[in-house]
């Protein structure tokens, strides 16, 4: 069987690796972005000088030859579904038996005046990084539009090179359309502390042309303020990269429509990762989830389905993680902006724990961590087994994943709870791997 995979991001490559593990099929991966698979989430570290581009490639170049995964560096112009054929821009067409779309995303553009000027770009693809690099020399200020995960990464990147940054954020606090208010305020404080010019309640009005087709300033819609800059980063989210498939027989809404087995409406054609839109998402999950982890899960599941093992895509309990400059962030389960929860914050104002629970049943439904690491499997087990709030609090030490010798927070958390609710809970477990392993085995 000949399997063609369009896209060499984490979804496509995970699919290719698993198909190889499951059988002796012929595998081609087509991408015009880069020669080899790299970690998209790590592009920022190349710009910041933490790593070289080679370092963010998880496999050595001979891995592909050894595993007989054929890498084709080209762009797919058109898919002829009837003939099962891919028309490429520069090389010969590729005929397939089964096809997997792993096309990823593109940065959102909302028709802002000037969005196509030079010195304007998102941060998604390798080419975006190259664009940033090309404009960085002698850059006196950069403006980043958008207050999400990529916006803050881009701000951190410029900041690391001592390039002043202005961030335009639509919301009244950083990312408060996702984060609860306290966490959102914490990150806003952190951004300002780093000397980044954070402008809240600010939309992009227009990007001004310097006369040579290059951006030289932006105008803030609300205030009319003009901010001079040599680069404008557009980081207002991403959407599925499916434009070239519109007007084909493939069913595309925002993304490529797939069922629980990641099959599209056309036989032998699958879609995974950022570009896939699940028809009926599992409870607590979204139809399109453009994150690393789901891309990897889908890659594995689609490989089974392509190879004939019918497997339902069930990503399980939601989790995600990110880093806001120096503050690590983890979330497990459902943590809405407004919720019934207990919230503990360290006096330094950069560490917090939030446990979301149901008022009536006391069942814990989500955990949100800032600057504190929790253990994935323990949180997952609590959420899956519908653990009660006080049970979680008394055993909170099991979840600790901070490095050894770190300051403890468990006592402070539990005494805050005891004081506010007039309870007398005590910590029942110790911070020890053996207790964790026993708990997980139960």
């Amino acid at each position: 069987m000949k399997v063609a995979i369009i896209g060499n991001g984490v979804s496509g490559i995970t699919a290719a690796r698993w198909i190889r593990k499951l059988g002796n099929h012929q595998i081609s991966v087509i991408s015009s972005e880069s020669d080899y698979f790299f970690s998209r989430t790590a592009l920022m570290y190349v710009y910041m000088g933490h790593m070289k581009f080679d370092d963010i490639q998880p496999y050595e170049p001979d891995f592909w030859l050894k595993n007989r995964i054929d890498l084709v560096k080209d762009r797919v112009k058109q898919v002829v579904f009837d003939e099962k054929k891919l028309i490429l821009e520069s090389s010969e067409p590729i005929v397939y038996d089964k096809l997997i779309f792993a096309l990823g995303s593109k940065s959102n553009m909302f028709g802002w005046p000037g969005q196509d000027l030079n010195g304007v770009g998102g941060l998604y693809a390798l080419q975006d990084l190259q664009n940033m690099e090309a404009f960085s020399s002698g850059l006196e200020r950069a403006v980043v539009v958008g207050g999400g995960l990529i916006g803050i990464e881009m701000a951190e990147m410029f900041h690391s090179r001592k390039i002043p940054v202005t961030m335009l954020v639509r919301e009244s606090d950083y990312w408060n359309n996702v984060l609860p208010p306290e966490e959102s305020a914490m990150i806003s404080r952190h951004i300002v502390k780093h000397g980044i010019d954070l402008r809240l309640n600010s939309n992009l009005g227009e990007i001004i042309d310097d006369g040579d087709g290059k951006a030289c300033a932006v105008v803030v819609k609300e205030t009319g303020d003009k901010v001079n800059c040599g680069y404008v980063g557009l980081t207002a989210g991403v959407s599925p990269n499916v434009d070239f498939l519109k007007n084909s027989s493939l069913e595309v809404e925002r993304g490529i429509m797939v069922d629980d087995y990641l099959r599209t409406n056309i036989g032998d054609v699958y879609a995974i990762g950022d570009c896939a839109q699940i028809r009926e998402a599992k409870p607590g999950r979204k139809n399109i989830e453009a994150v690393w982890y789901t891309g990897r899960m889908m890659g594995e599941v689609v490989a089974h389905n392509v190879c004939g093992n019918k497997i339902d895509y069930d990503p399980g309990i939601w989790f995600n993680s990110a880093k806001f400059i120096d503050i690590e962030y983890q979330v497990y389960g459902d943590v809405p902006q407004e919720s019934n929860s207990i919230y503990w914050e360290h006096s330094c104002g950069e560490k917090s724990i939030r446990i979301v629970y149901d008022q009536n049943t006391q069942i814990v439904t989500g955990l949100n961590l800032m600057g504190i690491r929790f253990r994935h499997e323990v949180c997952e087990k609590w959420l899956a087994s519908k653990a009660k709030l006080e049970d979680v609090l008394e055993n909170i030490c099991l979840a600790d994943f901070n490095p050894e010798f770190y300051e403890t927070y468990e006592k402070s958390l539990i005494s805050q709870y005891n004081e506010s609710f007039g309870k007398e809970l005590v910590l029942k477990s110790k911070r020890s791997l053996n207790s964790v392993l026993s708990f997980l085995k139960q």
């Binding site: 000088g49 370092d55 998880p58 594995e300 499997e377 490095p403 050894e404 010798f405 964790v436």
Partner: protein, 520 residues
Amino acid sequence: MSDPVYNSMSVANPHPLHLDLQQKLASALAAIGLLIILMAAINIKMVATVQMLWLSLSLISIGTIWFAYRAYLTKSPGIKNDGIMFSSLTNKGLWAWMAGIFITGFYVLLYWFPSYLGLAQDDQGNTGLVAFFDPLSMLLKSKPASQWFVYGVLYTLAILIFGLRFIWKYRYNKYQILRTLSVMFFQLGFAFLIPEFLQKLNYPYNDMKNMWPLNYYFFDEWSIKGFLEGGNLGWFMLLFGILMIFIISPVLTYLYGKRWYCSWVCGCGGLAETAGDAFRHLSDKSIKAWQIERWLVHLVLLFAFLMTMGVIYSFFHNNPQGYWFDKGSIVMLISIIVIGLIGTNWLVKPFKNKIDQKALYIFTGVMTLGLLLMIVSYFTGNKNALFIDFYTLRSSYGFIIGAIFSGIVGVGFYPLMGNRVWCRFGCPMAAILGIQQKLFSRFRITTNGGQCISCGNCSTYCEMGIDVRSYAQKGQNIVRSSCVGCGICAAVCPRGVLRLENGSEDLFSKTDEIRNIQVK
């Protein structure tokens, strides 16, 4: 490569380093301090040489510390690797080559041409660099300095000042702070001050934390005699050294992994972690390098073991009377140890399964051959256990492993091959502890569920060249014999995915489970 990203990222320094005025002044101070030492080394007459020694050491320390203060304490705590790949010194540029050649040259003089450093010839006094350090040596032990004293002072000073820099750089991470204080303490106390004072009091010179086989001269005739003639303290040191090898070290390695030694106690590790920290990312992460490492480091261990066998045998051959043991009983003891080691590796299932088959056969073959030769020597009354002149064996080990490998390649090549080249490819101590860590230790690095984003910071900053990411992205725990447990992978992970920890519940299955698999 025409790709702009490749261009800008790989050439030595496309982006200027951001040094502020204070950092430039601090660099100038350190440079003046170094210049004074160099002037002394080439015998330029200076007024007030005693004060000049203190002045130069102070200038170097203050300059370096001031520089580090500006580099780290003016910023908020957090990962501080900005621009590492752009700097000439840390990215194998011109500065790195110059530093590498300078340090290598120093080691060549130190080992083979100490007279060029000014070590006294015949009855004349010291000159040059060694003489420059005489006042400090007189103060500590009432004897003039030797080239080793100079080396010891500079080594200790480097661990202390770069240790402080390290603590500031990783000040958000208490594990890093504590283990750095620990290596600073062991270097200053155990490796430097205590041995110097011991010499002053006419006791044998001994660094008690420096255990066999890293301390390959521990069983040399002069060393054993030194202990035996050193009264109760000497006996204590001898027994403590043996206890370290057979009891203390295996127990601690079982409990905490080899990190208790390699990144909390050891002097080589101490220098690598502190002065070498800026070069940790230069270690080779390729599978090829890993293969070379496994063969080389274990062959060095085998070499060290056979050499020590010969040395001990010769000691008892040359000193037939006067000690509790005679040659016969030591041959018995060595035979029991060797047979025990071979037997354990073959008969204990969980061990045997984890050892490479080829390595197991070579180990068994070489050890059996060595043992047979020793027994034949014993019965024929030969003075050399292995029929090879043991002085030749001992001195070639000292030359190849002790000098070239641990000194010149190990430290001189920091800026070109990374800071743990010796620990990774050459150290027999690391090899022994590594085997223990792999076969029976509670230690592992846990991967937090499926949260790895394959970014590569862990692998890049692993000084031992372990491709940490290849395990983490599979959700697998990391148990590698070479891991020194420095904890930097966990410290630089932007998603907090890694944790160093110990647990006995899953001793022999700690790497089995691959939790990152969606389809069970």
